[in-house]
């Protein structure tokens, strides 16, 4: 990401710092490829701020924790939609958050880089990366003293190549020129839809087998708002058993997806958070598309809107009823 945008972003953060408890942004993580959420309170903290292709975390997930206190947040396009959805659901107050946007070119998928840096058929780990650099359209990564360069688009997160809203949809400050939007035709789902139900079930059974029920997918989701009161861990009601069974694990994914119907903004954090790489984002993609087709609705675009499954209308304008009722 260009230095001048970084400079201007830092300046914008410093400007709002006196009015807020802290500003949520990104800093460096455990290795050069990974970033970590950064909670900036002082101008020195702002020095450690970095945005751009490695700034993967969606910081909107933290906003409800700061209810009643004013904070600032730096957002990519997708992050901003989570903020908007949270505002529309009254979980975040508009006046309690200062939103700083910037044009997003997309973020990396660390797992894709790890696979790409493999030598021969050995796929390596992000934890071996000694240096990482994004220069315009390429990513250079050094492992065991050897540098490899790949086109950025090859290691970009899947959500970014189909991103329709790369610029914050709601912001108080926007730094830089707006980035170009892309199209999403849900082409990634075709492969799964071509499977028979039986095949699909086998696919998920195999994937869920390695689920450790850590619920990182749930907790990284900014719109999984029940937090400490999720039915998945509750004994009362006792809907899910504690057995180590793919049935219960899959059941939870279906609960998550249906609770996100028409609310999910496609930030992809559920799948990114999964430590064992289960593509749990697919469930939400399916259900999001359905919500779009049925109700003509997309979450996270309008802070005044109410998601279709959170309201009741006698006649849904987009659903053709039977001729007589």
């Amino acid at each position: 990401m260009a230095d001048d945008i970084h400079g201007a972003l830092r300046e914008a953060i410093r400007t709002i710092l006196p009015d807020v408890e802290c500003v949520l942004g990104w800093g460096s993580g455990p290795d050069p490829l990974r970033s970590a959420p950064l909670f900036m309170k002082s101008p020195e903290d702002v020095e450690r701020f970095r945005a751009g292709e490695l700034a993967v975390n969606n910081l909107a997930v933290f906003l409800p924790e700061y209810a009643g206190r004013k904070v600032g947040i730096v957002v990519k396009g997708c992050d901003s939609r989570s903020v908007v959805q949270l505002i529309s659901e009254t979980l975040v107050k508009r006046e309690e958050v200062v939103i700083i946007g910037y044009p997003c070119r997309g973020v990396v998928d660390v797992a894709k880089i790890a696979a790409a840096i493999g030598l021969g058929n050995e796929d390596l780990e992000a934890g071996l990366v000694e240096r990482a650099e994004v220069n315009g359209d390429t990513v250079s990564v050094t492992v065991r003293g050897e540098t490899k360069t790949f086109p950025f688009k090859d290691v970009m997160a899947a959500k970014c190549s189909i991103c329709r809203y790369p610029n914050a949809v709601l912001h108080d400050v926007f730094i830089g020129e707006k980035a170009e939007a892309r199209e999403d035709s849900y082409a990634d789902l075709e492969k799964y839809e071509a499977m028979s139900l039986e095949e699909r079930f086998r696919f998920w059974e195999k994937e869920m087998e390695r689920c450790i029920r850590c619920y990182a997918c749930r907790n990284a989701c900014p719109l999984c708002v029940c937090r400490d009161h999720c039915v998945a861990s509750s004994r009362e009601p006792h809907w899910l058993s504690q057995a180590d069974s793919t049935r219960d694990k899959l059941f939870f994914q279906l609960i998550h997806a249906t609770h996100l119907a028409g609310r999910c903004t496609g930030c992809g954090e559920c799948a990114r958070a999964c430590p064992v790489g289960i593509p749990v984002g697919l469930f939400k993609r399916f259900i999001n598309r359905a919500a779009g087709q049925l109700f003509g609705f997309q979450g996270g675009l309008d802070p005044e809107a109410v998601s279709p499954l959170q309201r009741f209308l006698v006649d849904e304008p987009t659903i053709k009823e039977k001729e007589w009722k």
């Binding site: 907790n219 400490d228 064992v276």
Partner: protein, 371 residues
């Protein structure tokens, strides 16, 4: 030099594991999607012996969820009131007491784990005093005794590895039954306990000597150097309790935490569980399943009160347990083996090393300020 060193040429690895699979359960790391997990050895696939397993091996000895027993409640037969022919009340039979039938679960038989990391073996020996000390857990102990652990020496360290900070070593000889080192032409197998004998009788194994031992040592030294100097953690068991009420410290350290269970469930040393009865009608099973101190439910009391309502208090418990309370209960042993999974797989990049170092620094600062 250890005369019992064995050498397994690379081309014999699968044949050897297959041979073992004839009489025991053989588990090895296997690539699955983007992850590396432990699976029953499958001769049609290559075990993954370069990348470090995403999950730890603890579930082999301490399953994610296990049946402690199955139960079936037998209802007393129904004894209806009845009348004598003259209309008087007949004497009622004493109802039989309802009986509870308990069935113990089946336990896996002899098992061998090939290719766990040395730090994972360190995880196992932190379990031992918990489940085989003052409290003897028959389920754990049965599996522990039936399992041969073959740890492989690490030839390189990840950015998140820190076994040497906590008494570990990339070539860990303290905790496993066998240390395996990948040499150029094969695996060097070094038996460390008596259990090792159960798997080293094969004719596929040759003897190894000085040369192989030297080659292995050189690799071990290289891996050690890659991890770098370990900081001195002396005093951490007092530093953490001294910061127990330091809200600013724990709030700032936990700011990025999502309070999920990835860190604790991937951790080789986390050993907490919860017990639930899963029942339908009169039958059911009592399950013991993993639990995590990062979850709200972990400390939720029946009254509704939760002494660790906030994630800061939960993170404090995770770090405090590993680097302070456990040491006090178990002869100074740190219940972290430095595998770094909690850092590597944390969706928010929370780094336990940073928390521990910051705690030491902050406690020292406080002490100095208090004179």
């Amino acid at each position: 030099m250890n005369a019992a060193l064995k050498f397994l040429p690379h081309e014999h690895l699968k044949a050897w594991l297959e041979e073992l699979a004839g009489t025991m359960r053989v588990l090895a790391p296997q690539k699955e999607g983007a992850a590396v997990v432990y699976r029953a050895f499958d001769p049609s696939r290559e075990p993954e012996l370069i990348r470090k397993p995403t999950e730890s091996a603890k579930h082999i000895l301490f399953p994610r969820s296990e049946a402690l027993f199955a139960f079936h409640k037998k209802k007393a037969p129904f004894a209806p009131d009845s009348l004598n022919p003259d209309g008087s009340q007949a004497e009622k039979e004493e109802p039989a007491t309802p009986a509870m039938e308990l069935t113990p679960p089946e336990q896996p038989g002899p098992t061998v784990v090939f290719g766990m990391t040395g730090c994972d073996a360190g995880g196992v020996t932190t379990f031992d005093p918990v489940y085989g000390g003052r409290y003897q857990d028959p389920y754990y102990l049965q599996r522990r005794e039936a399992t041969v652990l073959i740890a492989r020496a690490c030839n390189e360290a990840l950015s998140t590895c820190f076994c040497t900070w906590v008494g570990g070593d990339p070539a860990n000889r303290r905790d496993a039954d066998i240390l395996a080192t990948r040499l150029e032409n094969g695996w060097l197998l070094e038996p460390l306990t008596e259990r090792a004998e159960r798997v080293l009788g094969s004719t596929l194994l040759g003897d190894a000597g000085e040369a192989e031992a030297r080659e292995a040592e050189a690799l071990h030294a290289k891996a050690r150097a890659a991890i770098g100097e370990a900081p001195d953690l002396t005093g951490i068991e007092d530093a953490l309790p001294a910061l127990f009420d330091d809200k600013d410290f724990w709030w700032s350290e936990s700011a990025a935490c999502l309070a999920c269970g990835a860190c604790t469930y991937l951790c080789p040393t986390c050993h907490c569980f919860t017990i639930t009865d899963e029942k339908a009608g009169l039958s059911g099973v009592r399950l013991r399943a993993w639990d995590t101190c990062m979850a709200a439910l972990y400390t939720l009391e029946a009254s509704g009160h939760n002494p660790r309502g906030q994630k800061a208090a939960r993170l404090r418990n995770r770090v405090g347990h590993k680097f302070a309370y456990f040491l006090k209960n178990h002869q100074g042993r740190i219940s972290c083996c430095g595998c770094g999974r909690c850092i590597k797989s944390c969706p928010s990049s929370v780094d336990i090393r940073r928390i521990v170092l910051n705690a030491l620094k902050r406690a020292k600062g406080k002490e100095a300020a208090n004179g």
